[in-house]
């Protein structure tokens, strides 16, 4: 009996315990990596640009779009603005050219793009070893991802002037020497050349797949990269191929470019002018808010925005008299928009009261959905057009002019002007435009109205005449000016200026200082230093980690 009890006791202690199965626990909720699926992985590559769904920063999707904000906010086209003058202090520092390596905005931009690049590299690595799909489809996927990766590097490289070349997953060797700007361009040229050979044209995709990288989009990006390197012939070859493909045309009316439309309506997503476009679709709970647009909309709840990016009068004054693009670009204090509530009743939003809006204007290109949506939320799901055909034409024009092919340059430039000229000069979605009248509200700028002429009496036959200049330098400037007005507030201005600085030394500094002097706003452009502020500082925390020998800092920082 005693022995039995003892044995029983010992067995209580040990019997329960033999198996290792106790510590083999299943993975719950998620999938094991063995389930790598090429299609969902490539989709993740597109989605990462929209949602930035990474583990470390799950809710900071808006970082994706800071490059876009930067392109305007630190240029002569717009003020940073925001919830109040103290909103987004890091962008304010950039705007003042008081940049330092600890600038959060610059750091976020760097990190976000490299997180995206990780997903691209991860997908490429997964595709390389995957044997479940046909070679043809694999190459197609690979090309799409190479395009996306090139786009990310393009944004990085033009902002920092040479970045860390991470073109495969980082293994044990994490210290990678920073590449020069040209070395990065060379890799992108190679990747895009590959993609151009593989990718289908836009028309070869079924409608439901529009938004994927196309041969045209790869060519357009490559053309831009060539232009950055002043490789005019190569750039012209690519833009020419796009034009000759017949895949793209200019929209008839400039204002239709940002038409969002209701499902089933006359929508204009992935339209005829769109070369590459990132989709934001309405989803519950703001799962993919179009932060690029939301961040710039007015702060009134009906406008659903954060109030960043307020255009300058300098930009407005750049437009030629009566340029129809003005009413598709600017929203003026006092404008009334006929917002419709869920029952169809018109509420009528009068634009105004934007805090810290120095010239009391907003970017109208991000406000178009309000007119077309009955029920308004913060998430208006505006797509972001990365490259459009007008850009292809103006790149062609610029390259042609530099190559001495003046008439071709004029031809393409005038195509863009013609479309602008023929666009609507009235806006059915705004019942009143204040820009002729006296400035009211909180306007603090110079003592003048928005426009220095009467919009309604402009002779329509004189608007935007064809350019006939043949002097190379004058025509170059005409093309650059056309770029500023055509792509105003689309995030390109500062980077256009830094690119142009390679053609005409110190151009960006001259432009910024001239702006500061003209408008007596020394804090915005006055402290621009040539040879330093054309590029952003490499984030100091990265240098802390790998050292200056691997990651030399940019000049002057």
């Amino acid at each position: 009996m005693k022995k039995t009890i003892l044995l029983l006791a010992i067995s209580i202690v040990f019997a329960t315990s033999c198996s290792e199965e106790f510590i083999e626990r299943p993975l719950l909720v998620d999938l094991s990596a063995e389930n790598f699926d090429p299609e969902t992985a490539v989709t993740a590559c597109y989605n990462i640009m929209v949602n930035s769904v990474t583990n470390a920063y799950p809710n900071q999707r808006w970082f994706n779009w800071q490059t876009y904000i930067q392109g305007d906010a630190i240029s002569d086209d717009a003020f940073k603005s925001g919830a109040d003058c103290d909103d987004a202090p890091a962008i304010a520092e950039m705007e003042r050219f008081m940049l330092d390596p600890a600038n959060v905005q610059v750091g976020n931009f760097w990190r976000t793009q490299y997180q995206h690049i990780y997903y691209f590299n991860w997908t490429l690595a997964g595709l390389a070893v995957n044997e479940s799909i046909p070679e043809e489809l694999k190459n197609q996927y690979r090309s799409e991802v190479l395009f996306l990766r090139s786009l990310a590097y393009f944004w990085l490289n033009r902002a920092f002037g040479g970045v860390v070349p991470v073109f495969e997953l980082v293994g044990d060797e994490v210290e990678i020497k920073r590449a020069t700007e040209d070395e990065i361009w060379a890799q992108l040229e190679k990747d895009l050349q590959y993609a151009i050979d593989i990718l289908p044209e836009k028309s070869e995709y079924p409608l439901a797949d529009l938004g994927r990288a196309t041969r045209g989009s790869a060519r357009a990006l490559l053309a831009k990269i060539y232009l950055h390197q002043l490789k005019y012939q190569a750039s012209l070859d690519q833009t020419q191929a796009i034009i000759q493909s017949g895949e793209y045309e200019l929209e008839n009316d400039y204002r239709n470019l940002w038409k969002r439309g209701l499902p089933g309506d006359d929508r204009n997503e992935h339209g005829i002018e769109s070369v590459f476009e990132i989709t934001f679709a309405p989803a519950i709970d703001e799962r993919n808010p179009a932060d690029w647009a939301r961040s710039q909309r007015g702060r009134q709840p009906e406008l659903g925005g954060w109030g960043l990016i307020n255009p300058t009068l300098d930009l407005l004054d750049t437009y030629e008299e009566g340029d129809p693009r003005i009413i598709s670009t600017f929203l003026f204090d006092g404008d009334t928009m006929p917002k419709v509530d869920s029952l169809g009743a018109s509420l009528g939003i009068t634009v105004g009261g934007q805090p810290c809006n120095i010239h009391m204007m907003l970017n109208y290109k991000v406000h178009r959905a309000q007119n077309e949506y009955s029920e308004l939320t913060d998430n208006m799901a505006e797509n972001f057009i990365v490259i459009r055909f007008a850009d292809v034409l103006l790149m062609y024009a610029e390259a042609a002019n530099e190559l001495g092919r003046t008439s071709e340059a004029l031809d393409k430039l005038n195509m863009v002007r013609e479309r602008a000229r023929n666009s609507s000069r009235v806006d059915p979605n705004r019942t009143y435009i204040n820009f002729n009248g006296p400035i009211g509200g909180n306007y603090t700028g110079p003592e003048r109205g928005y426009l220095t002429y009467d919009w309604n009496t402009v002779d329509e036959s004189t608007i935007l005449p064809d350019i006939t200049i043949t002097d190379k330098i004058e025509l170059r400037h005409a093309i650059w000016k056309e770029r500023r007005t055509e792509f105003a507030l689309e995030g390109e201005r500062f980077f256009d200026l830094t690119r142009q600085t390679k053609v005409e030394p110190n151009r960006v500094g001259q432009v910024m200082r001239a702006f500061a002097e003209k408008w007596d706003i020394d804090w915005k452009g006055g402290s621009f230093k040539d040879g330093k502020h054309e590029v952003f500082p490499i984030p100091g925390s990265e240098i802390d980690l790998v050292g200056l020998e691997f990651l030399p800092q940019n000049n002057g920082y």
């Binding site: 919830a83 304010a92 330092d100 600890a102 760097w110 970045v163 709970d285 925390s541 050292g547």
Partner: protein, 1050 residues
């Protein structure tokens, strides 16, 4: 079995019952120190197993065999008395308190040990020591009390926990908190106050060295705190009622600029930068920027007149020969001094033990806790309530003016509702409205405890099998009402969200113990197996637009539109085999050997990485028992014991799936292609898995000495330890350009070395009794190795700062502050021109007067990677260690005085030598661009011209001024009168008339006095993880509590 019942009661009460009778002896036992009767004293006939215990009045009656019998009187904490009966029939005895009760039993892992036989570093704290500390949890009560244990309050918010570190930090990213074990069951987290009511606690043991903690191997690497709850005794019921209540108020308030100071500062800023003045200042221009009155004090607006505390405990213990019980209930409530913050807790406990069939004991130790926590956003520099109380402009109003009310009504909102009457405030909203409308809180039910069966066989063998649970259900509530504050601060639809979290942790412990003695040789052999399983699941939903905002409609089903639903789950498991041998010879030579084999689900099982083996050995030598020592005739030396130990403990506290690659798809992993916007599903990598992960090992060596002098009145314990954490489980430091999620790896080595000294002096002899005790801990922490790829790891960039303030690098402490040294502020262009390097070049060519002068410390390493001297450029190479978040030492001391019924207990505590990073400075300077308020005192905040200040740069100057530098740091040393209690015990003579055995009235002041040079509100700030240490992010400050209470014993 036929004549004796052995009842083991934790707390070492040995009770014997005899049945032979010839002569009846009676008497009364009193406490020699105060004359009070002592109930429960063991009265034993020497040489027999017969005895009795005294009753509540201290009286006993015992029948002895003859007049040559000898009675022994023993009681825990008192010196034994031995009295020959002779011809006496009444024997009254007064027992003297034993200063060092050597036979005290302490609870060690899976068993108990005599304190005198301990060989490891174990500190124990009795319930009596904590009795006079009104605190929600024992963690707070432990602060400063035990050498080697640092406790940091996570601020003063109701229900906020503490950060407890035993012998420093062994890990940069992993958990550094100790393991709490309550009645043998490990706790799931370290928020002990949510689970255990301090009133239920009998004793606390702190296992500090690896040799002691080894037996909790897999989870004991950061030390173990063993909590034993009160058990019943086989006697009449004892009932205790304790009630206390008091007020809770901030020790300090933010010292911010008033309206005029704010305007003056803004004018300096905007003058310096040339930016346009903000509207609220611009509109004052006509009045030459004068402002009537002090403006809004946001701190006053968001705080209550005072916070309140209440606590009521009831407990009852008792039992019969076979059955004992201890039960109790408690209620604790804390309304914080910041509006809306509160914590409320109900506890219930039932401990039972039943003895049957002579050899078996079965029972339960169960507790149920229900608490409700309502927090505010704090410890959050960008939007927290405390932060905003500092930052909001005094020019902004709390309440709307008439125009704004009209505007509100025009927008279609009801202005009779308070929620619509709060004024709109820039920069993140009106904090008073934020806290008043905040309906988010959570409730949690915790069922915690065990069921056990114990068998005692052949006097030597004990088998115990217990099954424990830590079962929690947490309900998260949130309701956001419809309101309109301005056209940008608005909520159009009432929104409700609910979330449930279920946590089911199970543990099974199966232990067999064998005791044997041969002559002077004593052995205890223990072997066992334990299994633990951790399950978690959550469910969350939100919806909006309900018919009414009444709390009756704060449910998903009440709402028109579902917004969201989420849920997830995880599980993990641990299993272990363990063994221990205790050996002692003549209580003079002591030896303990532990071994343990642990398996975890967090590593790969295929190649055995899931398993780790962790041995330890410790020995003690009671030198004072040696003949040579006794021949010294040093009577004043009572006891000297030397101890040494070595041991290893494992750690696996990392995420469940770090060893296997995982793909995930969340509600956001969709992308729409085409104009038709058809959603495609996306799967992405969720982690950066490392299949080679294995156990982190913490190895420690401990040397200790216990010395008692002068009749045990002076007691000294000293320890020196070295704790090395090797194969450290860390997140691999990767540059951001790698882009990957963090990967865990076994890299690096961290050492903690320390000295702990504790000294007490007691005098319990006369009517005036006192004791003075103190402890001090010196600790150095050093990162020895960060693995093959990194020589330093920088912390996360902190919010808007854009830089990381802390670093880990070889040869330096974890989380050292790392940045530039500041030589001063340039007053003039001449000073800038004079700051030259050896080559005659300007060191700071871009500086302007009012900018910091940084020290040029080093240049780029040479081609061999060796450091170089100053190079005339200020860049990353000039960063250096500029401060430490770790104190050089922490200390605490107590003074207890007792005279007749009066007791005065004073407890002081502090730390010395640490720095605190003041996030407040960001908003004072760097982040300042016209909207934020400032700490008052203009001359200290901004350089405004030559010789104005050498400490601060000019406002709005170059952002380079605000890189990580000494400027951000402030001395975090402090000394604090933590707890002062005055109590009065009513004399027994009065109490016996009202059938009470005790009545105590007391008043307590917590945090009555603090001495510090720290410039923020309070130097006691939440600890943070390894690379985020010592940062004051506007914490809810620690409170000063004044409490009165009364305690009844029946």
């Amino acid at each position: 079995m036929k004549k004796q019942l052995l009842l083991i009661i934790v707390g070492s009460l040995f009770t014997f019952f005899g049945v032979y009778a010839q002569k009846v002896i009676y008497g009364k036992v009193i406490d020699g120190s105060n004359g009070e009767p002592l109930p429960g004293v063991n009265v034993l006939i020497e040489g027999s197993n017969e005895g009795t215990v005294t009753n509540l009045e201290g009286q006993y009656e015992i029948t002895v065999d003859g007049s040559d019998a000898i009675l022994s009187f023993s009681y825990v904490g008192y010196l034994n008395e031995i009295v020959p009966v002779n011809n006496q029939s009444e024997i009254n005895i007064s027992l003297s308190p034993d200063i060092q009760s050597l036979d005290e039993i302490v609870v060690v892992g899976y068993g108990t040990q005599k304190k005198s036989d301990l060989t490891g570093a174990v500190a124990s704290v009795n319930a009596e020591e904590l009795e006079n500390i009104p605190a929600p949890g024992i963690d707070r009560a432990l602060q400063g009390r035990v050498a080697g244990v640092t406790v940091n309050a996570n601020g003063g918010a109701p229900g906020s926990g503490t950060t407890v570190r035993i012998r420093g930090m062994g890990s940069i990213y992993g958990a550094n908190g100790p393991l709490y074990v309550v009645d043998g069951i490990p706790l799931a987290d370290d928020n002990i106050s949510n689970v255990v009511n301090p009133a239920d606690i009998e004793s606390i043991e702190v296992l500090k060295d690896a040799a002691s903690a080894a037996i909790y191997g897999s989870r004991g690497s950061n030390g173990v705190i063993i909590i034993t709850t009160r058990k019943g005794t086989s006697q009449e019921p004892k009932i205790t009622l304790n009630a206390w209540a008091g007020t809770s108020n901030p020790v300090n308030t933010p010292d911010v600029a008033n309206a005029q100071e704010y305007i003056d500062l803004a004018l300096i800023y905007f003058d310096n930068t040339g930016r346009p003045l903000p509207r609220n200042i611009r509109t004052l221009q006509a009045d030459s920027f004068r402002y009537e009155g002090p403006g809004t004090n946001w701190w006053d607006a968001v705080t209550r007149e005072q916070g309140t505390l209440q606590n009521y405990d009831f407990s009852m213990t008792g039992g019969s020969d076979n059955f004992t019980y201890a039960t109790g209930a408690g209620y604790y409530s804390h309304k914080g001094f910041i509006k809306s913050s509160s914590y409320e807790r109900f506890n219930f406990r039932l401990n039972t033990s039943y003895k049957f069939l002579d050899m078996f004991t079965a029972g339960t130790n169960m507790s149920f806790t229900n608490y409700t926590y309502k927090g505010i956003s704090e410890n959050n520099p960008e939007g927290g309530v405390v932060a905003k109380a500092y930052q909001l402009s005094p020019l902004e109003a709390v309440w709307k003016d008439q125009d704004e009310l009209i505007e509100t009504a025009n927008a279609g909102y009801d202005t009779t509702k308070v929620i619509n009457r709060y004024a709109p405030v820039n920069s993140g909203g009106n904090i008073v409205r934020n806290v008043e409308q905040d309906n988010s809180f959570h409730k949690e039910n915790v069922l915690f405890g065990n069921v056990f069966l114990e068998a005692n066989l052949f006097d030597h063998i004990k088998i115990r099998s217990e099954y424990g649970m830590d079962v929690r259900r947490r309900d998260n509530y949130n309701f956001n009402p419809r309101f309109w504050s301005s056209n940008v601060e608005v909520n159009e639809f009432p929104t409700v969200s609910r979330g449930y979290e279920f946590r089911n942790n199970w543990v099974s412990n199966n232990i067999i113990t064998y005791d044997e003695s041969f002559g002077q040789h004593n052995f205890t052999l223990m072997a066992g197996a334990t299994f633990e399983e951790f399950n978690y699941e959550d469910l969350f939903g939100s919806a909006r637009n309900m018919p009414s905002e009444d709390p009756g409609f704060w449910y998903i089903d009440s709402a028109e539109e579902i917004i969201d639903a989420d849920g997830g789950a995880s599980e993990s498991a641990l299993m272990s085999y363990l063994g221990r041998l205790n050996y002692s010879f003549a209580s003079k030579y002591l030896l303990t050997f532990n071994i343990r084999r642990d398996g975890t689900s967090k590593f790969r099982t295929e190649d055995g990485r899931a398993w780790g083996v962790f041995p330890s050995i410790s020995g003690g030598w009671v030198i004072s028992k040696e003949n040579f020592f006794q021949s010294l005739n040093a009577d004043w030396v009572n006891r000297v014991k030397l101890r040494a130990s070595w041991g290893q403990v494992g750690n696996q506290a990392i995420p469940n799936n770090a060893f296997r690659p995982v793909l995930t798809s969340s509600e956001r992993d969709f992308y729409a292609f085409g104009p038709g916007e058809i959603f495609y599903t996306a799967y992405r990598p969720a982690n950066n898995a490392n299949p080679f992960l294995h156990w982190e090992t913490s190895e420690s060596i401990n040397y200790g000495a216990d010395i008692n002098l002068f009749g045990n009145r002076v007691q000294f314990t000293g320890e020196y330890f070295i704790r090395k954490t090797i194969d450290n489980l860390m997140i691999v430091p990767l540059p951001e350009y790698a882009g990957t999620p963090s990967a865990w790896a076994n890299i690096g080595e961290i050492h903690n070395r320390g000295t702990e000294l504790a000294l007490t002096y007691n005098n319990f002899d006369g009517a005036f009794n006192y004791s003075i005790g103190g402890n001090i801990t010196f600790l150095t922490n050093e990162v020895v190795n960060l693995g093959p790829t990194a020589d330093q790891i920088v912390g996360d960039k902190s919010g808007r700062l854009g830089f990381s303030s802390n670093i880990a690098r070889n040869g330096h402490p974890i989380g050292e502050f790392y940045g530039y040294e500041i030589l001063g502020v340039f007053d003039t262009e001449e000073e800038i021109a004079a700051y030259l390097n050896d080559g005659g070049n300007l060191i700071q060519p871009e500086a302007e007067p009012g900018d910091f002068q940084f020290a040029d410390i080093a240049g780029a390493p040479d081609e061999n990677g060796n450091p170089t001297g100053p190079d005339g450029i200020i860049n990353e190479f000039d960063k250096t260690g500029i401060g430490s978040p770790h104190p050089d030492f922490v200390y605490g001391f107590t003074i207890n005085l007792a005279y007749k019924g009066f007791e005065l207990d004073m407890f002081f505590q502090g730390q010395y030598g640490n720095d605190v990073f003041m996030y407040q400075k960001f908003y004072n300077n760097k982040g300042y661009n016209g909207g934020f308020n400032q700490i008052s005192g203009l001359e200290e905040i901004s350089w405004t011209g030559p010789n104005t200040t050498d400490k601060n740069p000019k406002l709005g100057g170059n952002p380079n001024n605000y890189q990580m530098s000494e400027w951000w740091l402030s001395d975090g040393s402090y000394f604090r009168a933590k707890n002062i209690t005055l109590a009065y015990n009513l004399p027994a003579s009065i109490l016996s008339n009202v059938k009470l055995s005790g009545l105590k009235i007391y008043v307590t002041a917590e945090n009555l006095l603090t001495l510090t040079k720290y410039r923020g509100m309070d130097p006691e700030i939440p600890s943070g993880y390894g690379l985020n240490l010592g940062i004051d992010r506007y914490t809810y400050p620690v409170a000063r509590n004044i409490i009165g209470g009364v305690k009844f014993n029946f």
